[in-house]
Amino acid sequence: MRVVLLGPQRRPTVDTVVRSLRLDGPIATITAGWQEREPDDELGKHLGSRDVNLSLYGRWLDVQERDPGFAAGERRLNGVLEEVQDIYLLRLDYALQAVYAVQRRSANDPVRTDALAEAVAAVRELDAAHLHRISDLRDEFYQAREPHARPVIAEHRAAVAGLLGDTAALVIAGGHVGVLAHTLHLFDVAPSLRSPVIAWSAGAMALTDRIVLFHDRSPQGFGHPEIYGRGLGVLRNVVPLPHARARLLLDDAPRMAVFARRFSPARCILLESGTSVEVDSDGNCPPGTRVLAENGRVTSVEAV
């Protein structure tokens, strides 16, 4: 699968990238992350009106209306997931405070180094357990509700697969990463994916096997990066960092070091405005790609 990750598209570069790929035929687009703005024809003008919007958010609204039983179950699931996420964040707060406390200790000896490694390992363990837990909850929900056997959802899935089958590429825009990831799963986009996939911001995050939320500039100050759930899993070992400079305190090297070590061996790829990176499914990216290194500094991938 050929995947191109872009930086935020306030000043669009997707048109240039699409031209460089010499694509022949219509291009599927997913703008479900924009939610109620999904029908806006913002992408069409950059794709030479070759775009075919899969309207995943609109389809989800249709399911809400026409399959109230499924919608009610979805709401219950979301309630449970929110509670689970809350508890995870509570535990994460203590676990990360422990990491930072050990990290702040001035002595730079093997004892402290080992303690720091153990503290980071505890956070990684917590992350893994949480991802497992919420994935299980979602899986149980899907098994119990059998979306493939529900006429409204089955109808939309077939339509989405049909549209994807006729296109030469897929473009996934940003927006609300939770909504985007949910609609991608609900309408079972993964089996019908067409290469190449071009994605940015939340779109890039939704392609990974593990969605990591991050925001250091909230009214409460920096927040803890948190595991949200599984994406499509097209990309493994990648943590995309859209708007990295704007959203993260990149100058705080000790904290950024914890970020990088926590998700290692995944590559934390900075997706700033103008970035265009071709990534393979194992997270390998070309020399020059800007990534967060384990020392907490932003660095470039070197040629092997």
Binding site: E82, E226, P242
Partner: protein, 389 residues
């Protein structure tokens, strides 16, 4: 955005430069007042002035730590009165002037200062010290989609009256969604004096705060209903909450329920949660009137505080977990600052997560307005972390 800045502190103050003028004529005072915004903020020093014939002029205020009445001096040979007060950076200072003619004393807002702060007790002048900014999210933003306010009457057997409530529904309200719920005591005052609707519209628009349904409730006999009243707690918990959850698409879990209040309203919020400890996940308490005694009965609050003192003393003696999270804010210029600071370890000892915020401000609605972003975004954080455009 309203920003107050002053020149470097080392410069001679404007009033002192005027004092040095010889001869000091009335026209010079005219020019002086025309040139400066009043109060004159220069670094950490603020010069308050009054112009007019009087026998005495005082600066009166409720700022804890300063003398209650600060005399202004008359500038020799003129009808200009002045006093210089040090106000720490970021302070908001509400005041009035007391002008005496013989035995007659009149309290007035500063006629040379157009900035006013409003409250149920009336208005007063306000001085923005260096570094204070009126938060831009408290001002109407044309980009922010407005929510709607709907009037309701909820009949209450507990309170034996029909209770008015205004319910805020966020923009793009959908029946199919599930919302957290906030109940605001003194709701009418939050709307009138703390710009609560504008604040909610803006903070929700900016994704700082989750889309929330807010019930603004107003008291009948405030000092009775809000002073640890069992009837009020029963009204909230056994009548209002079930009514709201039947009427609106609310999440209906403790973590999605919050009680908010300022001053006596904060006591009402805490006491309701104390009586119904499994119902409310969060409390947002602003400048709570948590008056207590450590020894003896002299609390200085008068008879209306008696039930409050009994409640707070009981709570401090045996702190109980009444919610998961408590946001506490207080102005450092209020006499209640010591009480509120004392409550923080008490809440923590009870096993609640506490976020405590102080501000250089007094017991005022604008102080409570200015803290809403920190409080609401902590209690019901917005979806900012989900958006990557």
């Amino acid at each position: 955005m309203t920003t107050v800045t002053g020149p470097a502190v080392s410069r001679k103050l404007a009033i002192n430069r005027l004092r040095e003028r010889r001869p000091l004529e009335s026209a010079m005072v005219d020019r002086f007042l025309a040139r400066h915004d009043v109060p004159i903020v220069e670094g950490g020093r603020c010069t308050f002035v009054y112009r007019g014939e009087a026998d005495q002029v005082c600066l009166v205020h409720r700022t804890f730590g300063l003398p209650e009445r600060i005399l202004l001096r008359q500038l020799r040979g003129t009808d200009l009165w002045y006093v210089i007060v040090e106000l720490p950076e970021g302070s908001r200072f509400e005041y009035q002037l007391e002008v005496a003619h013989g035995e007659q004393r009149e309290r007035i807002n500063d006629p040379l200062n157009s900035r006013l702060a409003h409250s149920p007790l009336g208005s007063s002048s306000v001085c923005y010290a260096r570094g204070y900014e009126v938060p831009e999210w408290t001002l109407p933003d044309p980009e922010a989609r407005p929510g709607t306010l709907v009037d309701f009457v909820v009949p209450s057997r507990a309170l034996r009256r029909d209770c008015q409530a205004m319910v805020y529904l966020p923009a793009r309200f959908r029946r199919t969604a599930r919302y957290p719920m906030l109940i605001a005591h003194d709701g009418g005052d939050y709307l009138r004096y703390a710009a609560a609707k504008t604040v909610l519209d803006n903070l929700i628009h900016r994704l700082d705060v989750a889309e929330t349904i807010v019930a603004f409730v107003s008291p009948g006999e405030r000092l009775a209903e809000y002073a640890n009243s069992a009837a009020h707690a029963r009204y909230l918990t056994a009548e209002l909450v079930p009514w709201l959850e039947a009427e609106f698409p609310l999440a209906g879990t403790p973590s999605a329920r919050c009680l908010m209040g300022a001053s006596f309203g904060a006591v009402a919020a805490l006491s309701a949660a104390y009586r119904y400890p499994a119902v409310y996940g969060s409390l947002l308490l602003q400048s709570g009137s948590f008056v207590f005694t450590d020894i003896g009965n002299d609390h200085g609050g008068g008879p209306v505080f008696e039930p409050v003192v009994r409640f707070v003393n009981r709570y401090r003696a045996a702190p109980r977990r009444v919610a998961d999270r408590v946001f506490v804010s207080c102005g450092v210029y209020e006499p209640l600052i010591i009480r509120n600071r004392s409550m923080v370890p008490t809440f923590e000892a009870a096993g609640m997560a506490v976020r405590y915020v102080e501000a250089r401000d007094g017991h005022s609605w604008e102080n409570w307005r200015d803290r809403l972003r920190e409080g609401l975004s902590w209690i019901f954080p917005g979806p900012q972390k989900f958006f990557y455009e």
